[in-house]
Amino acid sequence: MSSVRVDVQWSPAAPDQFLTWGTDLQLYQVQDALPSETVQPPRVRLSSHSVASLLATNNDIQYIKCVSWCPAVESDPTHQLLAVGQANGKVAITNFSKLADPRGIKGKEFNPKHARPVNSLAWSSQEPQLLAAGLDKVRTDHSVVVCDVSRPGLAPSYTFEQRNSISGDVLKPLMEYGNAETAHSVAFSLHTARTLMAGMNNKQIRLFDLRENKMCASTNTKAVYGICTDIHNQHRFASFFENQVSIWDLRNIERPVLNLDASKPVTKLSWCPSRVGLVASLCRDSSTIRLHDILHYTAGGEDQEPAVITRSITPDASTFISAFSWHPTHENRLLTASYTGKLVDYSVQERITLNWSATSALVWTNGKKTLQQVDCTHPVYAHYDDVLTAIMIRAQKKYGLYVDNLAMNGEVAGDISLRNLWTWLDAAKGLATTGNFKLPGGVPYRYHGVWSLLTAGNLNSDVINRPWIGQEGQKQQFAKVFRSEERSRALELCSWGFENESLLGSFLAQLEAAGSHTRAAAAAVFNQRIKEAVQILQRGAASRKLPELNSTAMALAGYTEERKALWRETCISLRSQLTDPYLRAMFAFLTDDADSFDPVLGEAEMAIQDRVAFACSYLSDVRLMDYLEKLNTRLTEEGNLDGILLTGLCSEGIDLLQRYVDLTGDVQTVALVTIHTLQHAIAKDSRLAHWVQSYRNLLDSLCLWNERAQLDVIMNENKHAERPPQHIYITCNFCKKGITPYIQAAGRPRNPYARFGTGSSNKSKMQACPNCRKPLPRCSLCLVHMGTPSGWDSTTQKTSVQEDTGEGPASASTSRRKLSHFSSWFTWCQTCRHGGHAHHLMEWFKEHSECPVTTCTCKCMSLDTVSKVSSSSINVSK
């Protein structure tokens, strides 16, 4: 097969038909197909979505050298005329129709005087009856021949080479050029009518003007092959020679506009019909087609290197391409043929733009005019595991807005590690705010972690032998545990602070109630309460319908210290087959010989606080620190929020949070942790401020205004020092000075109303401007001058403020009351500027929709956006 080179060409007449030729001419029809479809001969698969089936074969003509479709489009695609150049120099006009051509063009032939190959054929697109042929050299004949196929055939008197003629008429050359020369390629100019370009003799490109029948221009170049014109630029054409492609401008063919180098000899060149300035070249023995985008080559100016973007496409990597053809109308569509005859239908993809929107929709272009989009509401989006989706859902569930019960935030987050985090934060906040929990040395607790607590001072622990409880009838046994003040505090942080029996009991009961029977049993065993553990397991078996817990309880009950006992050996060998991490840890603990406890500590599925608490009880000082350090490093490395238990919310904790954000992008959680527990540190660490700011921006772009506002409220409550500056001031109509002098004089501790004698506090009315003493506007309903003392009541209620100061500055500032009750506030419509006392207007608008001012038709209430907000979204969770 490889001996016959297969060439392809799309039909100009039908967009779904193309021609191949090797030994014979074949017309194919392209059909859509599913990728899954099995394609059997005679149909051949072109691509994942198309197949071709053979429509017609034309094997009248032998030794085909080159083929060219006539550009004049026929209504019936099978009548589309073809010029076929042969190795013996004949050029035949044919088509795939079985019928005779009424015009008599089909079957016409051009016969040269001397047989030699036809190198190139070209139709004129302006006068589609003109056909040019370029032939090899012969001493006594011309090599460039132009015929008019529509001219009536010659009379039989034309006797030349009559023996070669078959049936049809003989085409007589209209013009002939290049006597005893070689024509490698021919093409008609698109710019001027009847101008032919020909690459000749390996050294020249010549322009022939057919109207005057003479050569009008010539240039010396070796790039004489494959001359092709650019349909988007009538002055431009391209040609090639060996490893070089040259781009020419007809107006100045002295030298090429541009030379493009190729790594291998070029075999074919073609301009893309659907895109400006794109030329495709094919090299010998190559499976790639190179696309040269020369659109911007002039942009760089003369001194700079030409800006040509070259791109390689590989329609099929498995074979070398022998030929290709651009689809005349379809966007960037190519058909390639390989040496093995395999055909590939390929579309060259244009630049795809691609953008994420702030609301996590991904938009990209598909083809020329269509955009495609996938956003977070789409099920596919869930596969991307974009943290923003989770952030949005959590924000809507009021994640982080539960102030009093921080653990609730973990509940709504719906993520196990976040739940653990918030539970711990809740506990730690409890410890920090009650003030009863003091670290060794009387240091107040500020969200320390186990690690920061233990490293604060030198650890010097005592060894205590703690008795096993509940083993009646046996020799009393003891477990070696370590105790120190730091360790006790650490245990408390792990919720293992069992100062007395009842605390342990309630802890175990809690776990049992939560259904964690195995965890409770393990905790009991770690506190030397085997009998209790056995009972817990039994209860677990009963309540959770897990009978295998009974057998575990049975095994546990048989616990013995005896080193060589059968119980011990069996437990050791079967331990690894237990699926529950707590049961594994429990038996590992009981069968541990050398007090190494490595199997227990390495039980990664155990909750972190249980592991740390266990370590704090059973590891010596050196080993404890070693263990915690390793664990701490690893968790920080992983950005695992469990590590907060160790690091607390000190600088190491912030590093851990940072790592967590780096890995997950979950800025929401870290911002909320900051707001709830680290407000005091924001000024010290810019990262915290950045997280909070980023999260607020995120809420903005997600249009979660209510959540954002509630978050700001929480932030300001937690912020001790400053309040946000006032945004709105009411000024006097006459003097333009604010009528709330207290606010403007904030910070000056004086009573602004002293001169009005407002000693009787709330009852005071202030109906004139405090500056110019002109009256304030009247209420449109009661017609009384408006005006009440406004601002914070800090001076008139001194006594209550002093009472509050015991609870700290934060509570004092929130307990201050406004001077006036809401009902007597100023209020006005933003549109018509009419207003009055708030409670009067509220009464009015219960029954009316228009403004209370007589001639005003403003629909004040319906313009108020507050009235449109659904009541559910205003509810601020407390």
Binding site: A307, T353, N640
Partner: protein, 323 residues
């Protein structure tokens, strides 16, 4: 045939399609801050604005002032109003503003000698500032000050041409106390990519008021097509993605301590890579290539970038979830 085109991203056909009605190749499509408007631009010289409601897109404006293909559009932060910038082959940058449901041109910046390839608005902390990258090799920075527009130019930023520009997120050290006030002015930085294969970082020098080259990053071997500075949520780390004609995507990471940009190759693709774009939180990178594939990438625990559409997807996703 069209429906077969997005094979890598998803093998489903239910992704919503937007028929833009452009007459020629669309070059860019951008959603605004709230995801309620979509701006598109095309070789047909027009800029179109669509109102987005769910999956319906309504054309609200068709802006025809450019005299050549329009390459890119960019929305300003909504705190400045509804403002859109567009850049074109006609060497102009046009800034549009919505004024009572009408879009009009408020400024035309025609100070480049060649096609303007890319525009990008600065983070709002810097004010209304626009960076424009041009094929003449220069980058201009337009600043709006009280109804007038001033520009500074980085001449010869990239020889042969500059293809893309992206702003660094505004990260102020010790500022942004949560009330929106900014203490110290954050440093203005941009990253540019050009035909000279370099990715360069520029900083506005506070003292001189000039833009100075801060880093010149070598890594690509062909035209740099697009650069994208990742949203900085993982401060102090800075990340930039760049893609090139050389079929590679490089992730540049600056740990914020050493100040050195470490390149890491995301992948070598089968074809040219046109665009890179970060998700809002900066943890997913979308990449579009000449093989007509849009792929999504995520960094795993070991700092390796994994393709979410690969078969390894399930594994990668579960790794993320175990955090």
């Amino acid at each position: 045939m069209e429906s077969q085109r997005h094979d890598c991203l998803v093998k489903v056909s239910v992704i919503s399609n937007v028929e833009t009605g452009h007459d020629d190749m669309i070059h860019d499509a951008q959603m605004d801050f709230f995801g309620t408007r979509l701006a598109t631009c095309s070789s047909d010289r027009s800029v179109k604005i669509f109102e987005v409601k769910g999956s319906t897109h309504t054309l609200v404006a068709n802006l025809r002032e450019h005299e050549g293909p329009v390459w890119q559009v960019a929305w300003a932060h909504p705190m400045f109003g509804n403002i859109l910038a567009s850049c074109s082959y006609d060497r102009k940058v046009i800034i549009w503003q919505e004024d009572g449901h009408k879009w009009k041109k408020i400024h035309e910046h025609a100070n480049h000698d060649s096609s303007v390839n890319s525009v990008c608005w600065a983070p709002h902390e810097h004010g209304l500032v626009l960076a424009c990258a041009s094929a003449d090799g220069s980058v201009s920075i337009l600043t709006s000050t009280a109804h007038t527009w001033e520009f500074k130019k980085i001449t010869n930023a990239h020889s042969i041409g500059c293809n893309s520009v992206s702003w660094a997120p505004a990260v102020a050290s010790g500022s942004a106390d949560g009330s929106g006030r900014v203490g110290a002015t954050p440093v203005q930085r941009i990253v540019t990519g050009g035909c000279d294969t370099y990715v360069k970082i520029w900083r506005l020098d506070g003292a001189s008021g000039d833009w100075v080259e801060e880093s010149k990053m070598e890594g690509h071997s062909d035209w740099v097509r697009d650069v994208a500075w990742a949203p900085s949520i993982g401060l102090p780390r800075s990340i930039i993605a760049s893609c090139s004609q050389d079929r590679r995507v490089i992730i540049w990471v600056n740990d914020g301590v050493t100040g050195v940009w470490q390149p890491r190759e995301l992948n070598t693709f089968d074809d040219v890579i046109w665009h890179v774009s970060w998700s809002v939180t900066g943890n997913i990178l979308a990449v579009s290539g000449g093989d007509n594939k849009v792929s999504l990438w995520k960094e795993n625990l070991d700092g390796q970038w994994v393709c979410l559409s690969d078969s390894a997807k399930g594994q990668a996703a579960s790794e993320q979830r175990t955090l």
